[in-house]
């Protein structure tokens, strides 16, 4: 991609900024060639990614280097877009909202600073990936389990800061953050929670500290750069029991969500899990053309063939019970009593006991196999996810399912969905899979996405996380009292970042000087 300058910098000022950046991090860590810029584009962009082009990237290795870069960026008005490892695939990856922003790549900050197996936590830097931490725990034989998302290529901290999801009892990853170290746009270094005390001994033991707790202010925001974080890890349980459940009919979602919500709310089922349709399996293990070459969305008769071929249901999910053998056997009975009368057959549980290979357990094990779905259409594949938050109510889920499926059909896209069950909510993750280089298809994908935003908002549902192309659209749906939350966010933004240099447009939050860029 050709260079797009930051909006408030001349070519000379930008060159001067890069030279001064190089003086801080070293020339090799200022990445400013055409090829470098291309490597930071959105790998799943709907098209060539030319609507979100970084001007360059710079990769510091320490807090002090970040502070020095911020001083230069403030002086020369160079906007920075922090990424941990840049693998936020489906949401823009490493690319910034605003073209001309310089990516601040924290991938070189990859130290595992502490792992405490007695109290179950780690302190890590943003460049630490799921595979890195998993390997470290295995090599050191530390009996702590991770919560791992479907695509585990990315950063542990980055995922938690985007409210990513894993599938163990610690699967609400943001809620397991305990203590952040943050560089503010001014360059000042802050520690949240108990870490605000010099010599604190309980930073990773208590999430709140004294007075207002700021941690959530640095989640999905552009108020600071997180340079290290405490994260709670799950003590390895004594045993697990796992069952895979298949529901044959689409409308089974009604009774199933109600029963599962009761089990989740009472902590019989303690983990977040994907309640997904048949396309989850088919899109990983096959390509669309093997099933259907016609136009429009996949017909239901194709769904029936896929279900028969893979011996799965319209909906499929896995439940795992974690803990002492006696306790989880008792909970398994409760699960049986809830589900078996509807299923008309017995559930089969696979058991695992500590000491056995963990591949047979309910542990979070990093993998990237789900990325296979972008190959569904062939060509240069990509996906975006529309994920409104809903109450875990069977009738609402049934209605939502029919409504969204009809919208997918209207726009000719294949319906890939899950009603991912949280503790008291559902993340209704709807993926739209496309061939990036098919303009008609990406146009349909965008039209569908915009209609989903409007339709969900009309029904009272808002997204938990979104792609960089739709952050303004989604932020606009959080409109109570004439957008009072957005006004509050931008008041804080202007106070903390008066020159507007940190991630303009992130989550729809724009600094004063750049509000004209809002789409």
């Amino acid at each position: 991609m050709k260079l797009i300058l930051p909006p408030e910098a001349s070519a000379q000022a930008f060159d001067r900024a890069l030279e001064r950046f190089a003086g801080v991090v070293g020339k090799e860590w200022v990445l400013a060639s055409d090829e470098d810029r291309d490597t930071y584009l959105d790998a799943y962009a709907m098209g060539d990614g030319s609507d979100h082009v970084p001007a360059a990237a710079v990769a510091p290795q320490s807090v002090e280097e970040i502070q020095a870069l911020l001083r230069i960026a403030n002086e020369l008005r160079i906007p920075l877009w922090p990424v941990s490892r840049g693998k936020n695939l489906g949401y823009g990856a490493a690319a910034p909202v605003m073209s001309g922003t310089v990516v601040l790549d924290l991938g070189r900050m990859r130290r595992i600073l502490e792992v405490n197996d007695k109290y179950g936590y780690c302190v890590i830097e943003p460049g630490v990936g799921f595979f890195d931490l998993f390997q470290y725990l295995r090599e050191q034989k530390i009996p702590l389990w991770m919560s791992v998302p479907g695509n585990a290529w990315g950063s542990v901290i980055g995922n938690a800061l985007e409210r990513g999801i894993g599938y163990t009892p610690y699967g609400d990853n943001t809620s397991k953050l305990c203590g952040l170290e943050v560089v503010l746009p001014s360059g000042e270094l802050v520690r949240t929670g108990m870490g605000a005390m010099s010599g604190a001994k309980s930073w990773q033991h208590y999430q709140y500290g004294f007075g207002p707790a700021w941690d959530q202010l640095f989640v999905q925001s552009n108020f600071g750069i997180v340079t290290r974080a405490g994260l709670w890890l799950m003590p390895e349980p004594e045993a697990t029991l796992r069952a895979r459940v298949h529901l044959p009919k689409a409308d089974d979602i009604g009774w199933a969500i109600d029963e599962l919500a009761r089990l989740r709310l009472r902590n019989v089922i303690e983990h977040t899990f994907v309640f997904g349709n048949y396309l989850h399996d088919a899109s990983v293990f096959s390509q669309r053309e093997q099933w259907y070459q016609g136009p429009g969305a996949l017909p239901d008769e194709v769904a029936e063939r896929m279900m028969a071929h893979y011996n799965i249901g319209w909906w499929n999910f896995s439940l795992t019970l974690y803990g002492y053998p006696e306790a989880i056997r008792a909970h398994a009975q409760v699960v049986r009593q809830a589900l078996e009368p509807h299923l008309g057959q017995e559930l089969e549980f696979d058991s695992w006991h500590r000491g056995e290979p963990i591949e047979g357990s309910g542990a979070g094990i990093p993998g990237v196999l789900p990325l296979q779905i972008v190959n569904w259409r062939g060509g240069r594949g990509g996906h975006i996810g529309f994920s409104p938050v809903m109450p875990p109510d069977g009738q609402l889920a049934l209605q939502r399912f029919h409504r969204v499926k009809a919208l997918y059909a209207k726009h000719g896209m294949d319906y890939y969905t899950s009603f991912t069950m949280g503790h008291r909510h559902i993340n209704n993750v709807n993926l739209i899979i496309y061939d990036r280089d098919d303009p008609a298809m990406t146009q349909s994908a965008q039209a569908l996405f915009r209609e989903l935003i409007a339709d969900a908002a009309h029904e009272g549902y808002g997204e938990y996380r979104t792609h960089i192309s739709f952050m303004d659209d989604v932020a606009q749906t959080f409109d109570f009292n004439n957008h009072a939350l957005l006004k509050l966010n931008e008041t804080v933004k202007d106070a903390l970042d008066p020159h507007g240099i940190l991630a303009p447009g992130k989550s729809g939050i724009w600094p004063r000087a750049l509000r004209g860029k809002r789409t």
């Binding site: 470098d36 291309d38 990237a57 990856a93 790549d105 094990i365 196999l369 990325l371 190959n375």
Partner: protein, 113 residues
Amino acid sequence: MRIIFALAVAATLLSVARAAELTPAQVQGQQLFRARCGYCHLFGGTGTIMLARRLGDKDSLLENRADLDAGYIRTVVRGGLRSMPALTRVEVTDAELAAIAAYLTRAREAPAQ
């Protein structure tokens, strides 16, 4: 997926055993390949599956290929290919990429026996 992971571990161990046949530079390239590319390009990985669909099983594991050259590897890594994202010079430095390429092209570069 869990079975695939176990097989990938087994494949890794097998290859480590074979590492004794590699030069020190190739061993370094192998370790880097596994650390940076192995997420997708070991046995059972998503890249391996995609390559198998396109080229057949025989050519799906990059470590077994004899037809790759360093220029092509560099082009794919920095530019991406089909559904494979490009990798930045932070994730894989130029020096690391050269070492990986030297490992993956070892069969092509080896003198005739």
